[in-house]
Symmetry: C2
């Protein structure tokens, strides 16, 4: 089959969505491994990382090759430029899922600190942001992307609440310090995933509308 | 003066180095504000952030415009692709300097926890990595870039050591938990800056040699 710009752009789109699906699954599994204290599932998340790294490098290569081969302009150029950035953000979401899984492994060796209530809520909001940011790319819907950016404040608020609660635990009982720190690290990683989803949403707006809303949308 | 590819690429290079100089200065000032308990200097770091954000957006725009106008190939294309990524990494180094400065502000309201010994060492290694990664770009020296990647393990080791020490403090004395957490946050941000410097170094190797050493150099 002959190569054409449209065909190559479509291949890039498919690859990016596959990457998105993979890191979304890693986030899901990281949450499940935490809630169900499932060390095997946490290990599975950690083992997925090389696959994410591989797709990231392949996808970058595809983008550079399209730039060199076709010299795309206007919306096609913005699409490729956006993919180069989104690719990087997705890879870091995968890294965060791995960090969370590593904390889950450490936590699974000690008794549970407390029933988790805010943490699953944080997982839910953040996963929704990642899913919707990719969905706004597929549908080329800037309004959906803007909505993702708006949810970042909610995440920051919830993160601060969890931080304060864990701090209180640590001050009241030195025996829980290590476990509380692992939970803090999990929350912090989720807060970073929300930042990456926001970056992706901003790149979608840039790609579709050609305007740079970074540092102003938030 | 007529626009040419070489002239525009040179302008991009200058802009990137200005951005690098700015975030290096922010890191320096963040360290100084910590060591000298200087809240005003910490506030100055926080106030520098919008300038970094502005250069980031301008620089991206310049890169996209060069791609659209000249359709560069080979090493020029790799240079522009590398700058788009390095730009993003530098902006995040700026964010980390801001996070550190915010922790310094919080710490300046309480008595010092302990004399800092490992933390200035961590600052020094990390600042060197940022400086050398940009220097390897200017000199187009992959060997210098590889040397930056090699130092990342040293940073991870030092970070773990600081983490363990602060953990011990927290377990032994609940009164120091808040301060120890701020110091932990500072160390964690430095560890992330080292990751960004490593990314920059990997992008330099890609730009100069055309080979992707990510996920293998480390």
């Amino acid at each position: 089959m002959e190569r054409t710009l449209d065909r190559d752009l479509d291949e890039i789109r498919q690859s990016l969505l596959r990457m998105g699906g993979l890191v979304e699954a890693m986030l899901d599994q990281a949450e499940k491994s935490l809630m169900e204290r499932d060390a095997d599932l946490a290990k599975h998340v950690i083992k997925s990382d090389p696959e994410v790294d591989r797709i990231e490098m392949d996808l970058d290569e595809m983008c550079y090759s399209v730039l060199a081969r076709y010299q795309p302009a206007a919306v096609d150029l913005r699409f490729v430029a956006a993919v180069i950035k989104i690719n990087n953000d997705l890879e870091r979401v995968g890294d965060s899922a791995v960090n969370i899984a590593q904390a889950v492994l450490a936590l699974s060796e000690e008794p549970p600190l407390k029933p988790y209530i805010d943490l699953p809520r944080l997982f839910e909001i953040v996963r929704g942001m990642v899913r919707d940011s990719l969905d706004s790319l597929v549908r080329q819907k800037p309004s959906q992307a803007l909505d993702v950016c708006d949810r970042d404040d909610q995440v920051d608020g919830l993160y601060k609440q969890i931080f304060r609660e864990l701090l209180t635990y640590m001050i009241e009982d030195p025996k829980v310090v290590t476990r509380a720190l692992h939970l803090l690290l999990i929350s912090r990683n989720l807060e970073r995933v929300a930042d990456h989803a926001t970056n992706i949403a901003e790149d979608v707006i840039y790609y579709v509308e050609g305007r740079d809303v970074r540092h102003s949308a938030k």
